[in-house]
Symmetry: C2
C-alpha cells in the first residue's frame, strides 16, 4: 500500500524510543525523575475550569472557524496591553500552536521549499515542514556559544531561491535563548530585504527571567507582510491539554489562505475556547509568581550542572529548558544505560538526548535538553542523579 514521501520523511518522536526502557525500570521498582518533557507542573488557573463548568448551552455546537469571538477579543486585548493593535481578522484561533504551524507551512511551502531554522530546534518543526513537502535548512549553533544564532551573515549565507521563511523560537525551546531587541530588528531586516516570511514562535513569551519587558516580532510595523506569530495558551497558562493556540499576522493574503484550512477543519474545541477566553482574565500576579518559580528552578539547575566536571552550560534567559553538553560520547546510549543499568537508592533520571533537536547529521550527540519542570527538591535530586550517572557511566567496565 502506498505511503507518501512526505510521511516517510517524518519521524516518530525521538523521546519515545526510551519509553519501553522507562516502563521496565518502573516495573523493577525504580523511581524516575523526568526532566525529559515540557509539561509544566504549575496548576492551571481556576478560571479555566470555572468557565468550562459554567457552560450552559444544551448543544455543544461547532465554534466559528476563525475562532470564538470572545476568545479572539481576549487575544486582541492581550496584545493591546503589549502596545500591539490587532484587527480581529489578524488572528486565527488554532488547535494549539501545533495546528498554527501546520496550517502555515501548508500555506507557504511547495515541495522542496526551504525554511531556515537555527538548530537545535523544537523537533516537531520537522513534522510540520515535511508534511507540507518542505525542508529545514539548519543554522548551526553550539553550546560553547550559548546557542546564540542572530548573525546576519550566517542567515544570509543560507538563503537561496527556494528559501521561503526564517523560523525562530524566542524564548527558545530547547535552548532558553531570548533574542535581544537589536537581534529581533536584524532578523526582521533579513526577512524584509529578502522577501521572506519571519515566523516567530513566541509561545514562551512570558517566561523571561532578567526583568526585561515582553517582546514580540509584531512590534515591527514595517514588516507586517513578513511577520507571522505562532502563539498558544499551553505554557502561558499551564493549559497544555487545552489545545488552543493562534496564528497571528497582518498579511491579509496569507490569512485568507490559512482561513481555508480553518474552514476545512470546521472549528477549534468549543469548551477549550470558553476556558481560554477566561484565562486571559487572570491577573498579572499569576505571571509574576510563575516567573519567580521558574527563575529559581533555572538558577538551581544551572548552579548544580556547573558543579559537574566537564559539563558545558550557559545560563538560559527564558522558557523552561536548557541544553547542556555532557562529558559522555553519546547521550542516547547514556540515557538508555541510565534506565537499564543505573540507580542510586532506587532512583534514576530521564532527559531528552540532543541529537533529535538537530537537523545536521551527527550534531548534538553529547548534548541533552533538560526541562526544569520539577519542584526545587526534585530538581536538585535529579541533577545529583545525572552527576552520579555521568561518573558511573564513564568508569563502567570496558570503557
Amino acid at each position: 500500500m502506498h505511503i507518501s514521501e512526505k510521511a516517510q520523511r517524518c519521524e516518530l518522536s525521538p523521546m519515545r524510543k526510551f519509553h519501553p526502557y522507562a516502563v521496565e525500570a518502573v516495573r523493577q521498582g525504580r523511581k524516575i525523575y523526568h526532566l525529559n518533557i515540557g509539561q509544566p507542573d504549575i496548576p492551571t488557573p481556576a478560571a479555566f475550569f470555572d468557565a468550562v463548568r459554567g457552560f450552559a448551552d444544551p448543544v455543544l455546537a461547532y465554534a466559528a472557524s476563525p475562532g470564538e469571538p470572545a476568545l479572539v477579543e481576549a487575544v486582541r486585548d492581550y496584545y493591546a496591553k503589549l502596545n500591539i493593535p490587532l484587527d480581529a481578522s489578524d488572528i486565527l484561533i488554532t488547535t494549539g500552536g501545533s495546528e498554527a504551524l501546520l496550517m502555515l507551512m501548508l500555506s507557504i511551502l511547495d515541495p522542496g521549499d526551504e525554511v531556515i531554522v537555527p538548530e537545535p530546534f523544537y523537533p516537531n518543526y520537522n513534522t510540520f515542514i515535511r508534511a507540507a513537502g518542505g525542508v529545514i535548512r539548519p543554522l548551526h549553533t553550539a553550546p560553547e556559544d550559548g546557542y546564540r544564532y542572530a548573525d546576519r551573515a550566517r542567515f544570509e549565507a543560507l538563503i537561496n531561491e527556494r528559501t521561503r521563511a526564517l523560523l525562530i523560537t524566542s524564548p527558545g525551546n530547547p535552548t532558553g535563548v531570548v533574542l535581544h531587541p537589536q537581534e529581533m530588528a536584524m532578523l526582521k531586516d533579513v526577512a524584509t530585504d529578502h522577501g521572506l516570511y519571519l515566523i516567530s514562535d513566541e509561545v514562551y513569551r512570558e517566561f523571561i527571567y532578567d526583568g526585561e519587558r515582553l517582546h514580540t516580532m509584531l512590534e515591527f510595523a514595517d514588516a507586517a507582510e513578513n511577520t507571522v506569530i505562532v502563539d498558544s495558551i499551553s505554557k502561558r497558562f499551564s493549559a497544555c491539554g487545552a489545545r488552543v493556540g493562534a496564528l497571528i499576522s497582518r498579511n491579509r493574503e496569507l490569512m485568507q489562505q490559512c482561513l481555508k484550512f480553518c474552514q476545512g477543519r470546521l472549528s477549534v474545541a468549543t469548551m477549550d475556547q470558553v476556558g481560554a477566553a477566561a484565562l486571559y482574565g487572570v491577573e498579572s500576579g499569576y505571571f509574576a509568581a510563575t516567573r519567580d518559580e521558574y527563575r529559581r528552578r533555572r538558577d538551581t539547575v544551572v548552579r548544580k550542572l556547573r558543579e559537574i566536571p566537564g559539563v558545558i552550560c550557559e545560563e538560559p534567559k527564558g522558557a523552561f529548558y536548557l541544553m547542556a553538553a555532557l562529558p559522555v560520547d553519546d547521550a542516547d546510549a547514556f540515557q538508555r544505560w541510565l534506565l537499564t543499568d543505573f540507580s542510586d537508592r532506587g532512583e534514576t533520571v530521564m532527559f531528552a538526548p540532543g541529537e533529535g533537536f538537530y537537523a545536521t547529521p551527527g550534531k548534538g550527540r553529547s548534548e541533552i535538553r533538560i526541562a526544569y519542570i520539577l519542584c526545587q527538591k526534585d530538581l536538585e535530586r535529579a541533577i545529583d542523579l545525572l552527576a552520579l550517572g555521568i561518573e558511573a557511566y564513564n568508569r563502567r567496565d570496558g570503557v
Copy 2:
C-alpha cells in the same frame, strides 16, 4: 510573498459567500430558516458535561498522542458491540473526523495522486486532499438515479496509476445514500483487487431509518490492509463542538505513519476526550430516540418537497441531509435572491447550493442540499418558504 500551490488550489467554504446577505436580511428584520448547516439541534447527552465538570486534576496536561486510554477503550467497546474486534493500536484519536482525514491524506498522497470520490461529496474533502497535494477524481452521480454510485465498472474506469484510494461516505453527506451490504462488498473487492485504500467515512453510522443493522467497512477481514475508517463523536452524540474523532485501521504500516503526525501535534484536547469517553456510555435508547426524530423529519421534508412542482428528490436512507434538484436555472443565484428580494410574512430560507458539492465543473447548478436539523414545525415552514420562493423566483420581472 509566496503562497503554496496547494493552498491556492483550496477554496473558502462555498457556504460562506451568502453570510453577508444573511446578516443584511436579519438586520432588515427578516427571520431566516437555516437548512444550510449540519449542526444538529439535538441536546448533547448530559454525560459529556457531567464528566467535564467532574475533571479534578489541578493541571490540564497533554493527553497521550494516540488518544486517552479510557477513550480508546470506549471506542474499542463500541466496535466490539458491532462484532468488530480491534486492538488499541488500530485506533488513533483525532481532533474531529477532520484531522483524521487530513492526517490520512498526508500519509498516503504524493503530489498529483488521485482519490476517487463519488460526487456530490462533502466539500471539505477537497481541502484535505488538496492540502496533501492530491486530486479528487469524481465519480459523477445524478438526482434522477438517487445519487447511487456503487457501480463496479464506473469505479474501475476511473482507476489509473496515480489512484491511491476510494473515498466514500455512508450514510452519505450530502445525499443521504446508504450502501447496501453487497455494494460494500463490491467496493471492498475493487479496493483489494487494485491495491487501493478504501476510506470509509462513517460518521453518520447511527443515522439510518429503515431498520437495518449498523454496518462498517471493518466487517471485511480480508481487506484489513486496505480499509481505513473515519469516525467522529460529532454527529453520533450531537457533540460537534467537542472535536473528537478517530482514524481506525488494521494496516499497521499506515497507522505508524499517521502516528508521526499525532505525535507532531502532541495530543487531542484532554477535556473533550474525558467527555467523549463518558458519551460512549449513553444507553441505546438515546440513539433510538434520535433516529426516530430524524426519521420523522426526513419524512416531512421528502413529503413536502415532492409537493413542489418540478422538484426531483429521492428518499434519503440515512444521515440528515438530502440533495434535491429544483426547477431553477441556478441555485446559487436563487439563494442570493431569497436573501435579498424575497420574504413571506417577514421570513425566508437558506440551503446549501449544490455546485460546491461537485468536482465536475458546471454540475449541481440547479441542486441544493438540505440539512433537516430543525424541529418539525420549523421544517414545514422552511419547505413552504422554499416552495413560495421557487414560484416567485420563476415569475419575477424580466424572466
